[in-house]
Amino acid sequence: MADVQRKSGPLDSDARSKIGRVEAVNGPVVHANGMSGFGMREMVHVGHRRLLGEIIHMEGDSATIQVYEETQGMKIGEIVSGTAETLSVSLGPGLIGGFFDGIGRPLSELQEMKGIFITPGLEVPMIDPDKTWDIHVEIKAGDMISQGSLLGTIQETPLLLHRVVCPPDVEGEVVWSASDGKIKSGGLVAKVRNALGRVVDVPLTQRWPVRTPRPYRERLLPNEPLITGQRVIDGLFPLAKGGTAAVPGGFGTGKTVTQHQLAKWSDAQVVVYIGCGERGNEMTDVLEQFPILEDPRSGRPLMERTILIANTSNMPVAAREASIYTGITIAEYFRDMGYDVALMADSTSRWAEALREISGRLEEIPAEEGFPAYLPSRLAEFYERAGRVVTLHGDNGSVSIIGAVSPPGGDFTEPVTRHTKRFIRCFWGLDRNLANARHYPAISWLDSYSEYAHEVEGWFEGHVDHRWGELREKARLILLEDERVQQVIRLVGEDVLPDDQRLLAYAAYLLKNAYLQQTAYGSDSYSSPEKGFSILDMIIHFYDRGLELVRQGVPISLIRENDAVTEITHLREFSAEDSSSFERARKRLDNHLDRVGVERTREQQGGRQ
């Protein structure tokens, strides 16, 4: 990669003199000798096509390299040259709206160079160094700066103000600073004299090794929800900003649609979407929709806050392993500007399988189901990079991770799901039967849980309605109790049940069909917490009043069979602002229930006369 700052790196002269030779090729794993001058995890160029690879094992003079590109055509004796850095990405303005492969090459540039197919051995800078930006500089010569100091700001997109923050390893007195106005991505923001008296450059675009988490000042507890616009998530199993969630499900249960929905509607300022070993068309879907879809809060195209990373299932497997780290590093970079970042990884199972595939080629001893023994520690390292933090600059920022898991055969006891569950706090289990009935999102209300529910309840009670927690608990109890009632119904049918249980089953039916079920297409795709609460409130209201009537002896059929009740299942067709429609529907429901109650009283009185 032709990034400016690396050319001036101190190790560069060494890198040029180091040359290794390929001695064996086995798929993406290449062995080379003459490698003693190289570093572990160093990025290398392999062969005359200069395929990008990473050293993953060293022994004496020889090294094992995982190559991020197709190795077909490689011969014994081809040269290996070093780059003097570990796998790194460029961080700076120009990332937003970008579409990168697993190792950070912009896919549009690749297409311009070679057409519709990706050919191996292409080198493209992640950020075009010649692209110019309008910078507002916040420092001047003589200022003392250290890690986290705000150096300047760039309005990268109408949605995002890019804060140029002093990188972690720089500290000292500014001897020169850029001036307001045009600056190139490859340009310098400042020159700083450090404590040793050496003048160092502070480039606008910095490099960061992807396997190293970026530093922050302190970690905070997550207590603010990430609003997703999905009723089942916001209402029952909320995710906090800076939290971690997993979405496991067999094929066709809607993992990707759920991930897309979160990428579209969650109230994060930056969204990083990693398509890891999944379908090419899914990325195309995002790429075509996001420039058109509007952010519900600002009305701007969603692409202005989104970064896409794709290593589709047919792209080289080693780069799949890297794509997760590339994504999380970019997410942390924006977190460090004080933003809330949401990262979707679809799917972490493909990433784990990439680990397995490489491990197999290295002939390591496998642990469970062929996965390497270090799988759980890798998963932990990844999920622990989420969190709500005080940044080095002193702002609050967060990275929330939502990882899809694709368990083989839909079996949640397999290693990836099982280990993932240990490191996440919010679990949205997708249910095959719900998906078959096209009840989407197919998030099971029985298997799923959220450890954030109580931590974010206060926020909802302050911002939406003070009865939020109470109603959530009621809804959960109805659904739980319904599971028991349904077992009885499956055995003997509904007719023989007492009316209060039938009412409960009906309330659960309403919850499932009017509240939890939500189509991803059309106007109901985003449902604000207020709208969700209005629907939930109506159902619980119906249940509470219905229960009173049942206790007075009113038959369930009279309570249930009325247009005002059926209408509850169509409440979601109203828009959130249309509060008068909600009120009218509630009035009609109340009128109906009043009437049923009055008729019953009259009958009883009539009977007595």
Partner: protein, 466 residues
């Protein structure tokens, strides 16, 4: 190009041979020619390369190979296939060599059969509805141009008939060039003969390209067959502008071949003995479908796989389902009831249908109706299991209506003739008709508006609505 030849093979192990010191000319993935005593040659491919030894996988197997007398010649190229516009109407063997006695393919170009990954940014999201004339598919698992939609079947189910019906009835909106690429992997002679006969007789004349690896052909060639076929499809689509429908049958034979090779090569097996890279390997085939910006053609894949023991959680259908854009599942139970096509709609799915249906594509109410049919038919399953416990007579009124709906759905909506071609509008109207047999409170997936337009219209003269 200078071609080196080596005499002597140090080890023969199943389909693999080990050659010492193939030198620095050999490259990873290179195609070789193995000359066995008697002058016959077989093709092989370098699958592992090191300074000391080179592992070669021999297509057509290693029978009658005498180690000391075998010569290996490096061909200086990877596994390639010769393609030109004249391939349409031709039949090739599993390695892409002509098998119809019409001689070699002249002109055109040679391409690497492994293909290259398509840049996701070059893809255009598939949105064009393919009209198949089959109600269950058009309405509930809509096929989209550029989609990969496999048929999950079992032995003895009519998957071949269904594939032929789709291929011959498929109408792509407009009158563009349409071609079928048929890849038979380890299929029986009879099946191959049936497919070829039906495809060429019922379909448009002479638009089929066939690649055949029959059940008694060398197993190892099965690895190459789908790659040859897909290379041909990509060529026809992206260079000649055809809309290509690729039918690959049977993917199960392909996966078995991958397993056999993996085990022979001494790899660490993963689930059920299949290699850990089966997902990536299958993806390298299935992902070769789609629509590309700036090209007029498209590749639509309709792979067929027989689920071992009808088990959908078996690694082959499982991994396939994770890569493809949905699946059409055939049910033995429906087949037993005499319903053709026996499509189990609840487990079937088309991921791309959401954008290819509705206003401007099929009809405005399509999405709601489809969702409602799924919801209502899913309830039928619950009611049936209840009825088997308490007896049909004991059911509540709503449950009885549900059973009746189930019957209508299976016998009128699903069931259709082997050459019956139904209009999408006709299918949707029929869907409303059978939905109107349900109580209105059950129709939660269609909007009030749609209920008014469709149900009121169709049952206007029924007394219950008065």
């Amino acid at each position: 190009m200078p071609q080196s030849e080596y005499l002597g093979v140090t080890q023969v192990n199943g389909p693999f041979i080990l050659v010492d010191n193939a030198g620095s000319d050999a490259f990873y993935g290179e195609l070789v020619e193995v000359r066995i005593p008697g002058g016959k040659t077989r093709k092989g491919r370098i699958v592992s390369l090191s300074e000391k030894a080179t592992l070669i996988q021999v297509f057509a197997g290693t029978d009658r190979l005498i180690p000391n007398d075998t010569r290996v010649r490096l061909l200086g190229k990877a596994l390639e296939v010769q393609l030109s516009p004249t391939i349409i109407g031709r039949t090739f063997n599993g390695l892409g060599e002509p098998a119809d006695g019409c001689g070699v393919v002249f002109g055109g170009k040679r391409v690497d059969a492994n293909g290259l990954p398509l840049n996701p940014i070059a893809r255009q999201y598939p949105k064009d509805f393919i009209h198949t004339g089959i109600s269950a598919i058009d309405t509930l698992t809509t096929l989209i141009r550029g989609q990969k939609l496999p048929i999950f079947s079992g032995n003895g189910l009519p998957h071949n008939q269904l594939a032929v019906q789709i291929a011959t009835q498929a109408r792509l909106m407009g009158s563009e060039d349409f071609a079928v690429v048929f890849a038979g992997i380890g299929i029986k002679h009879d099946d191959a003969a049936f497919m070829i006969k039906e495809l060429s007789e019922r379909g448009r004349a002479n638009n089929v390209v066939t690649f055949l690896n029959l059940a008694d052909d060398p197993v190892i060639e099965r690895i190459a067959t789908p790659r040859m076929a897909l290379s041909a499809a990509e060529y026809l689509a992206f260079e000649l502008g055809y809309h290509v429908l690729v039918i690959i049958t049977d993917m199960t034979s392909y996966c078995e071949a991958v397993r056999e090779l993996g085990v022979a090569a001494g790899e660490v097996p993963s689930r059920k003995g299949y290699p850990a890279y089966l997902y990536s390997d299958l993806a390298s085939l299935y992902e070769r479908a789609g629509v590309v910006h700036g090209a007029t053609g498209s590749v639509t894949q309709l792979p067929i796989l027989t689920m071992p023991n009808d088990d959908i959680t078996h690694p082959i259908p499982d991994l396939t389902g994770y890569i493809t854009e949905g699946q059409i599942v055939l049910s033995r139970e429906l087949d037993g009831k005499g319903i053709y096509p026996p499509i189990d709609v609840l487990t079937s799915l088309s991921r791309l249908m959401k954008d290819g249906i509705g206003k401007g594509f099929t009809r405005e109410d399509h999405s709601g109706v489809a969702s409602q049919l799924f919801a209502s038919y899913s309830r039928v399953q619950d009611v049936r299991s209840l009825a088997s416990v308490v007896g049909e007579d004991e059911l509540a009124k709503a449950d009885k209506q549900s059973l009746k709906f189930g019957e209508f759905f299976e016998n009128r909506f699903l069931k259709q003739g082997r050459d019956e071609d139904r209009e999408i509008g006709y299918s949707l109207d029929m869907a409303w008709e059978i939905l109107s047999s349900l109580p209105r409170g059950d129709l939660t997936r269609v909007s009030l508006e749609e209920i008014k337009t469709h149900i009121a219209k169709e049952t206007a003269d029924s007394p219950s609505e008065a």
